[in-house]
């Protein structure tokens, strides 16, 4: 019983770290070249052209702040909500681009098209991240036991976690 709870906690930690790592990395790469990211956003033809620079400058920081916020117990729920929202937003944008037959690269990791993965792969990746974020969100805000766990105690209080 203790082993099961400890395993879940370890899994939660790893999922959280992986999610944070992906978003902080993605955000950081976009922060390095906002002009290139603005061009990538333009290629999606979803936002009016004049709003693309604003989004290109703001979104990467939302990703970074969201990723970092996962490690702060007081901000975790909000961060998860934010990242889940971002994943759904990306999925919607990529799906829309695929539906309209746009021949573009994702722009997920900054650039507007240099040897980057196909849109389909990017969509699968976003969906996978959304699943992880949703699972963490459910654990964070679901049952009252979940609420207690989110205060960072290592599972069952009477047994030490078994690796």
């Amino acid at each position: 019983m203790a082993r099961g709870a400890a395993f879940e906690t370890v899994a939660v930690w790893m999922a959280r770290t992986a999610l944070a790592a992906v978003f902080v990395y993605a955000g950081a790469v976009k922060v390095l070249d906002p002009a290139a990211f603005a061009r990538a956003i333009d290629h999606f033809r979803l936002l009016p052209h004049l709003l693309a620079p604003a989004m290109a400058v703001y979104l990467p920081w939302v990703e970074i702040v969201g990723g970092v916020g996962l490690f702060w117990p007081r901000g975790r729920a909000g961060a998860l909500l934010l990242l889940l929202g971002l994943c759904l937003l990306f999925c919607a944008a990529i799906t829309s681009a695929l539906a309209r037959g746009l021949d573009i690269s994702c722009g997920c990791f900054g650039d507007g098209g240099e040897s980057s993965p196909s849109l389909g792969f990017s969509l699968l990746r976003s969906m996978f991240l959304a699943l992880i974020a949703w699972w963490l969100w459910w654990r964070e805000t679901g049952t009252p036991a979940g609420e207690a766990r989110s205060a960072d105690s290592p599972g069952e209080p009477t047994h030490p976690p078994i690796d």
Partner: protein
């Protein structure tokens, strides 16, 4: 395990605070980043028109072929002029001569994925100072399809 939960208020407020926190570095980026994006309507993409919109409209259309000269020689929209970035200065005089006020310029290249029509259209819009410049959605391929589906 329920799939939907009513979003707890604390999560919403935390998210709002995080969104607000992201504003500060974003503003700094917008002001000082050496690679910040330019706010320029001249870099705005040129509007796309479909074949039926272009050919069906009231005014006259001046077709511009943005592909290379060899491809142009192999087949082009009747009456189209060849203008591409590699031979810009050579191709521009014919375009200027052919244009009249009220004539719409529509630029096309191979198909929907090519960028040449956008760059040629943007450059035309900028250099000639004209507003009524658009890009043919689907390019040369769209024109071919339109010909095949004619009764």
């Amino acid at each position: 395990m329920t799939l939907f939960r009513i979003l707890p208020a604390r999560a919403l407020s935390q998210a709002a605070w995080l969104l607000l926190a992201a504003w500060v570095p974003a503003l700094l980026t917008a002001m000082w980043h050496p690679r910040r994006p330019t706010w320029g309507p001249e870099n705005a993409p040129v509007a796309e028109v479909t074949w039926s919109q272009a050919s069906g409209g009231a005014g006259q259309v001046l077709w511009i072929d943005a592909r290379s000269a060899t491809v142009f020689a192999g087949g082009h929209v009747p009456g189209a002029l060849s203008l591409n970035e590699a031979e810009w200065e050579q191709g521009l005089p014919a375009v200027v001569k052919a244009w009249r006020p009220g004539v719409k310029i529509v630029v096309y290249c191979d198909d929907r994925a090519c960028e040449a029509s956008q760059s040629v259209a943007r450059r035309l819009r900028r250099e000639l100072g004209l507003d009524e410049v658009s890009v043919l959605k689907g390019g040369w391929r769209a024109w071919l399809e339109a010909q095949h589906s004619k009764p």
